[in-house]
Symmetry: C2
């Protein structure tokens, strides 16, 4: 597979996507490709998959891991969540109303197994193809949405936050979510608006200091207005990324997504990796006083991944 | 159709379903039939439908109303919700965090159209068959769960509350929910545990004074323990009652149900009628200091319905 690390003119010299506007929301056309590579026979996904990703801004891939690999990932995640409350680092985030771990950030630093997963050709290799560049992990996390009381997460574009608060210049990043539980339409699955990645919603409202302290529990700044979401959903529809444990969902950094709360007994969990193109490393934030902490936005340990073939094993 | 108004021995002389226990939850077998009639050729539902209701505790019926009837119901509901805030009676309940009407109680008293709907053979006539008795409206309401911020409603049995707080003696009541919006798996549909109607979960916790003032926004007393819900859902499964506008969902008073929150743009609305057997009229509450108000629990205007044939029309 050929990787170009090609950069567009004036790549990060100007703010390509102004946002956090003081007086109004604005919608601008995307200035970057969604699929950065030309598909060829040696690509790690099929031509149909590449076209689906380019058109819709996401791709659901199943049956990539065998049962032993899935067992290894699930049990490793459980051990991380079982970390004694007294010993939890600052990047373990709990539910608003309980002591249960909802998110473990810097997942690849807390766990060799998940570091190995991130580097797998089935993840990093696909990300290299989608972005046509070498990639590094901008953010990684283990998400856990418990049964009975899993909270919703409102519609948003990840790129809007990464651009405004982390200084990510352009739309050349992709998230990969590896499902660690079965995910149905009823237990708070990822919902996406297909095609929404093609427009940038410059959000209303200036960024408060330390916005991440509240936005991780319930995002209020950097989200589109409800009427905009309504129009996008009416024009483009709504899809869900569901599947059995081990399913991988790739979605472009600018695809609008969210998830409902969950009163069913079934929890939802996934391992989440943001792959950014090495050519797209962060600069100063475009709409925030200072960058978010390193556990949310990697800017000091930018190491291109060497994709690894083969099966994932514990130890 | 033959209606018997047959009563069981010692029908309301004793508390058949003690609940709100001070020290523990308890699970008891149901002491009443689910389907009170024998099916025959002149029944208003098919044999298969009757068997489905008896086995699962609910029944979804579609295509009962024509387009003009549905338009009439939807526009009547919208007018009710548009009532000026200053003129809203006490039985209009708003969202916890906004001024939007979430529920209109005593729907049949606020609207001749909805009173006519309640009396329709497609509702009251079916209820008479299921309960093998003449029926009256114990409670009626218009429910509206908005898009974007619709809140969840936790798992519960309605009968538990009606018995404890309203003095409904036995399980001889059925709810009919008429969908006034399309309802998919994603916009907070009614979820039910099939077969759960056959066991009574006597709930932990004594009833506080004026419990209904908080329980309508988020129920905390009179709900099963999460581990009990988990066991029921594992043993019996989980179903959703979805369908296009005009779909009618009948469910037994003791079927466990709940609904997820909803961040999609699509609201969920329904007209909801509780039909109680005339032989099952309320006595003193079994586990509360005094009955709930009349807008929640009709005990003074108990009039058996004369089911009406024909199409529903405005004015």
């Amino acid at each position: 597979m050929h990787i170009s690390t090609q950069r567009l003119d004036n790549y990060d010299a100007v703010d390509a996507y102004p946002t956090r506007l003081p007086d109004r929301e604005a919608i601008k056309e995307r200035r970057d490709p969604v699929l950065w590579s030309e598909w060829s026979e040696d690509a790690p996904i099929s031509r149909e998959e590449a076209e689906h990703y380019d058109k819709n801004g996401y791709l659901v891939r199943r049956d990539l891991f065998d049962a032993d690999e899935i067992d290894c990932l699930v049990s490793t995640a459980q051990r991380l969540r079982d970390t004694d409350p007294a010993e939890r680092p600052a990047d373990f985030v709990t539910e608003p109303s309980s002591d249960e771990v909802r998110t473990v950030f810097r997942l690849d630093e807390h766990s060799p197994v998940f570091a190995r997963l991130a580097a797998d050709t089935r993840l990093a290799g696909v990300a290299e193809f989608l972005l046509n560049d070498r990639v590094y992990v901008h953010q990684s996390r283990l998400n856990y949405k418990p049964g009975f009381k899993g909270k919703e997460f409102y519609w948003h574009s990840d790129f809007e936050t990464w651009h405004a608060e982390d200084g990510m210049p352009r739309m050349r990043a992709v998230s990969a979510s590896v499902l660690l539980t079965d995910n149905s339409k009823l237990n708070g699955p990822l919902m996406l608006i297909p095609g929404s990645q093609n427009e940038f919603i410059a959000c209303l409202g200036e960024t408060p200091e330390d916005n991440h302290k509240s936005s991780l529990k319930a995002q209020e700044i950097g989200v589109p207005q409800p009427e905009t979401i309504r129009r996008f959903a009416e024009d483009l529809g709504l899809d869900t990324a569901t599947g059995p444990t081990g399913t991988v969902v790739f979605f472009d950094c600018n695809t609008l997504h969210g998830s409902n709360g969950n009163i069913t007994p079934d929890p939802r969990s996934n391992a989440f990796f943001v792959f950014n193109a090495i050519s797209n490393r962060p600069v100063d934030p475009f709409a925030a006083p200072k960058p978010r902490p390193a556990w949310l936005s990697n800017r000091d340990k930018i190491r291109p991944i060497e994709p690894i073939e083969g099966r994932i094993k514990a130890g």
